[in-house]
Symmetry: C2
Subunit: 328 residues, 2 copies
Amino acid sequence: MLSNLYHLSLRPGIETVESLGGLHEFAGWERPILTDSGGFQVMSLAGLRTLDDDGVSFRSHLDGSLLRFTPENVVESQRRLGVDVAMVLDECPPWPVEHAAAAESLRRTSVWARRAREAWRSGTGGLFGIVQGSVFPDLRRRAVEQVVALDFDGYAIGGVSVGEPKADRWRVVEETTPALPEERPRYLMGVGTPEDILRAVAQGVDLFDCVLPARNARHGVAFTRQGSLRLKNARFRADQLPLDPECRCPACRRVSRAFLHHMFRSREITGPVLVSQHNLRFYLDFMSDLREAIASGALARLSQAMDERTAAPTSESPSVTTASNTNS
Amino acid sequence: MLSNLYHLSLRPGIETVESLGGLHEFAGWERPILTDSGGFQVMSLAGLRTLDDDGVSFRSHLDGSLLRFTPENVVESQRRLGVDVAMVLDECPPWPVEHAAAAESLRRTSVWARRAREAWRSGTGGLFGIVQGSVFPDLRRRAVEQVVALDFDGYAIGGVSVGEPKADRWRVVEETTPALPEERPRYLMGVGTPEDILRAVAQGVDLFDCVLPARNARHGVAFTRQGSLRLKNARFRADQLPLDPECRCPACRRVSRAFLHHMFRSREITGPVLVSQHNLRFYLDFMSDLREAIASGALARLSQAMDERTAAPTSESPSVTTASNTNS
């Protein structure tokens, strides 16, 4: 599960979660938790924040109160939450950005990474570094060198899925991933669709986070092995099939596409609830398939099968399944 | 599970549900389903409906299309849905109402009841009659005589929880329930709080329906053995207790009141989902306790314990737990 330090800092507050036994206890979640440092959210605040070499000051979007993130207090807060994977504070430049501005941003991110590494007191969890550098190959190479030298427990590729063209994104992933240590987890932040995940896994990426399964579910879009379905469409009004005949989620075992269509048309929360469960089941099954394919050497065959499926006309408009780092 | 013929007639339509295998199959629900005839909803449409002795014509609040309910087509629609308990079409007078108007309304309801009974072709389910007559003892007595003479599979007390004073409601329940056949289910429509249910059970009522468990959950109000909790209140911000330490629902087994407080403050649907499950578990446990108390002769003791609890200061303002027939 991924949580977000920016949001948790504002509400309910780090101290509250800590006093309640930490994030696992608070959320009733026994499996691993990763927290994003919140750098991405803070940088998006634009007028509400001031950035300096020591950290970033910002106003809460909830009550206007003044908060400050530094490389040190961000890792300390994540330690107090008791998470399994903490992320360093970084600066994620927008796209497009000039080379000079991206270089200056990377300089600050590298200084922060060193300070975070030094401040980190390992509990049961680990600390990941983040590679920035926008779409510039020389900056990405410099970022990799600097971050790997700090010997983190894992490495993230940040600064993708921020609006850049797909070709640029894939060039960055394909150049950066192999340069990161293979024996540590490699994490592509904010990605993505099943197609994007498969392509990144083929490059060596191990870990992903994305709002898509839940956000698409809220909008009535279900992932299936035959492509995505927009459940509000009239063609599902009397469709007796489950979302995905191969799926074993509660929705697929019990109700039809017609029922889910009715739930979304009636604005019943049963729709988003069941389709969120389904989409998460779909992603978990998909990741399981990828692990099996890697073990059996069948990843290339899986890629080919997905290319054929994506090209097939049963898949609906992919526009809603475009990954991005927003939380709408 | 209670469903509503008015809502299902408008969307997705009786024909659609029938073509999908009936309401059990459509909703993935194997246990008993009762359908309200929709009379209450249609009568509430005011300007959108015209009533005559043969039935009622009304416009859909969704798309303005013209529909008509008659005693015959209402039972036939419920048969097509495949429900376990169907209700006759009745006229539920508003409160307050003059004696003459209530008498005229009851005359029509009685004519409709006879026609519904004659039109009913029993499938696997049964048909219930409804006792109306507002708050007038002579009309309620007449209603009981007429409806019992038609030999229904069960009997409902309608026309309560429509705004009348509590004293009037209880007088109606206490006068009407014993007059209905003890060997058939007696059903008090639109009630109520746990306190109201216990009081009605003591009078001989067997069956209830109410929006409270789910509606209160959506508004962040949880039922507990110690009274109801308004989870948005600041006092739950760091409350480590489960909603109800004696409850075995998923929320009570896994998360604290503080977590649920955070979900409601953050407008996460996890809040309404978990508290709906909890409130339904609470009601099911409560009904189970009542059945046990009846079997062991301990109902009076249970009533006394609840009176003491209701008087205790830990119970929060009861205003949000007032039962009514609305669906907000």
